[in-house]
Symmetry: C2
Subunit: 272 residues, 2 copies
């Protein structure tokens, strides 16, 4: 063995020992990747994405954002689509814990914010129970992103003194929400994952006292170049959407703030 | 005049013409600066902060974040404190429009998100009326930031299927909120600016059906090195806070998700 080779072998050994040492301190970063546009990532999110050895990501994380993870990081897709859970939540929780226990720094990338309909709480409960270190990085939730880019303030002195976030998930073909609460005045209601249930949502609100001409908007691919905003009323929106060939991700905003969209719509998209 | 001086004079003239040209295209960037920690800024926010000629900022924008604006940008403070409005909102709206019309690129920096209790809607309405171009950059709202850094998920399968944001502003010594709605089960309620009214808030919730031992947390300086989290119940928290010498900014989280804080509290602060 030549001297140069010997040196190189020693360097390799040192590197291996260093890696092994790192492998004893795995950790999970539960990261909100925001509403879609890559420049709505936070600095903290990017820094941790670039430290990670492995990235576990959802369907709602855009390709532009996934491109920003460390080049050589392993990428694991665990996205969910309606009626088609690629990986059950329990398995994701366990996967994160196992990866970290094998010494990996794991970036758990989620669309939006991990603690607003992101099931981040369940994931870190498992990590905590298994003694795995973690941190949580908040992200711009879809409601904030879509509201800003659609020119629809979620609160406004003249319109809404509060804002409520719910999901429109169907369970046994119905949506279990406190409709009386959601039909009350002077508030904004944001529905995540409400596209499939839109007609049931509109009908339930009308049945619980909302005027049938109450303003409602659907935002498709909010913050992205393909963003579309469709506004209507509780009685007209379901049909408008049926005609418009809408695709997820979508967000629904209900309240008189929606009337401001026409004036305050500043974001130039491909379509306009 | 020497040749070098002549050249320099011409450069200065060109620069002046260039500046004048720019001065015809003033614009306002309404930017959410997030909950406090500088690394929770978005890339888009920073990019626009570095383009701005003038920055108009609130009390809730931290010095670390203000340090990130362009070095030579003019800085105008319009912060508000309770009972002590430094600049009335109408004047802020007008100021932004005037600055932009004089050709300046104006960064309007706000704590949190401009469209969640940020009065961003009112500001851009004035801009729109006066024909001033603007864009809106969403920020991490205080609720997201504090929740993530306190280990309190805002939604959780076992605890809360929805989350509502309200403000605890006192008006004529009372707080005008839909208490019946806020006292309902299976939700999380987040109160912005609720420190002064905390006792009234707790009493009103109990009077409208919340159990007196219902969990509630106050987060002081969420996401910052001085973060403090005080948890208790609707009957105990007001006294705990009175004893703890709490300072704004604070955020209040109400709901059984608060019970998860003890386990999921991952953020190492100066105090622990």
């Amino acid at each position: 063995m030549f001297a140069g080779q010997e040196q190189q072998a020693e360097l390799q050994l040192q590197q291996a020992l260093y890696n092994q040492e790192q492998h004893t301190v795995g950790e999970v970063y539960v990261i909100g990747a925001g509403p879609g546009a890559a420049d709505l990532l936070t600095f903290r999110a990017l820094r941790l994405m670039q430290q990670a050895d492995v990235v576990v990501y959802d369907r709602l994380v855009s390709p532009e954002i996934l491109d920003l993870v460390r080049r050589d990081a392993e990428k694991i897709y665990v996205g969910k689509e309606r009626d088609h859970h690629t990986v059950p939540q329990e398995n994701i929780n366990t996967l994160l814990a196992e990866l970290a226990k094998s010494g990996k720094r794991v970036a758990r990338l989620k669309g939006g914010d991990p603690f607003i309909f992101g099931r981040g709480g369940e994931e870190i409960e498992t990590l905590m129970q298994q003694g795995v270190q973690f941190q949580v990085v908040p992200g711009i939730t879809a409601a904030s992103g879509c509201a800003s880019y659609a020119g629809i303030p979620l609160t406004h002195r003249d319109h809404a003194q509060s804002v409520t976030f719910v999901t429109g998930h169907l369970k046994n073909d119905s949506i279990n929400l406190n409709w009386t609460q959601l039909a009350a005045a002077n508030q904004t209601v944001v529905v995540y994952m409400g596209l499939v249930g839109i007609e049931k949502i509109c009908n339930a609100l009308i049945a619980h006292g909302s005027p049938s001409d109450f303003p409602i908007a659907l935002v498709q691919e909010g913050t992205m170049q393909n963003q579309r905003v469709i506004t209507g009323t509780l009685s007209t929106l379901p049909q408008l959407i049926a005609n418009a060939q809408i695709k997820p991700p979508t967000l629904i905003i209900i309240g008189t703030v929606v009337t401001l969209h026409k004036q305050l719509n500043w974001f130039q998209t491909k379509g306009n």
